[in-house]
């Protein structure tokens, strides 16, 4: 496409760097912003720059935050002895949306993936260990995606914490509520039978 202005071309190029945005969509977005009042475009650009520049990560759990300690860690109503270890911030939002979990979190910032050059030292694992050493954490829930890399990460962390006085659990794997048995993959189905649970527990979960 022949864009008759370098300014527009630059803005389009910036948009196409975002995931899932191609050249045509980028042009549509840029021309939309062009039709808006100048303040609107200014506000848009400033919000992005400000967000990236001023964002702080919680010193305890590495969640995004506006202050030194995030809204979850600084909430006296949350159970500090229960820590849910997640891959990224979106996982926290997903779990928070369930309104069921009253503990705190720890964001690893990824999973161990040698192919992508991500080893344990790139992740927030040291701070998890020192959190356990420092505070009265009683249980660590590993809420990591059940992929090859996720399982490796869970294995690494559990090995590392084996000597510590802390309980390590993982979130339950099984057939999803609303999911149909015949469309569930074999691994999940086999594991869900192997790790079957008493019917009373099922009733509790359904509530």
């Amino acid at each position: 496409m022949n864009i008759p202005s370098k300014l527009i071309q630059d803005a389009v190029n910036e948009f196409t760097k975002l995931p899932g945005i191609g050249k045509k969509t980028a042009l549509r977005l840029v021309l939309h912003l062009l039709n808006q009042p100048e303040e609107q475009a200014e506000q848009f650009g400033t919000a992005i720059i400000k967000m990236r520049k001023e964002i702080v990560y919680c010193k305890d759990c590495h969640n995004i935050s506006d202050a030194d300690s995030c809204s979850i860690c600084s909430n006296p109503g949350r159970d500090k002895t229960l820590v849910c270890v997640v891959e990224n911030i979106r996982d926290i939002m997903a779990i928070e949306n369930t309104n069921q979990f009253r503990g705190t979190y720890h964001v690893l910032g990824g999973v161990i993936s040698p192919l992508d050059g991500i080893g344990p030292e790139q992740l927030n694992i040291t701070s998890l260990v020192s959190r356990i050493d420092r505070k009265e954490v009683k249980e660590i829930i590993m809420a990591i995606s059940p992929t090859m890399e996720g399982d490796t990460t869970i294995f690494y962390v559990s090995k590392l914490l084996a000597e510590k006085p802390v309980n390590i659990t993982t979130i339950a794997r099984g057939v999803a509520f609303g999911g149909e048995l015949e469309y569930t993959d074999e691994l999940t189905l086999a594991r869900s039978i192997a790790s079957r649970m008493p019917y009373e527990n099922y009733l509790i979960r359904k509530k």
Copy 2:
């Protein structure tokens, strides 16, 4: 969704103002920018602000431009006596992509649409008339979408220019190349029969 930071929330809100971007997509884009180096986010924001602030419109044709006169109007190889009237800048890009048109353009900036509060005075019609008065424009091609509003606009402009020494034409309406007769709407099909053309012209167009 519960976003634990006002900075992120603000950035997400700005993204959702763009057409076709919902809350989930906006969050994905913002978290992507958050993972990029600070310069990347800065470059993104600055490109948008700069684009909106410094963009100039060509004084003749109202095309977007980096200078007083756009690259098409200032090109001595383009035929200034032939002016193609379009609705917006994207139409110019679409026509330019065909590499067939060697004339110049005039961007109306929309079509007459009383329901949306757009009358002739909101469009760049006065400047079109003065362009015709001032320069040696011989032919005006109305390349406006064949909608109710588009047809109204064509009618209005042609009435206005009726007394001027200028030829007014519209782009051909008909069955698209590659289109199948049986799936063409009745209006287009009926008109394409009424405005049939000599076979020799068809051969020229196919080239």
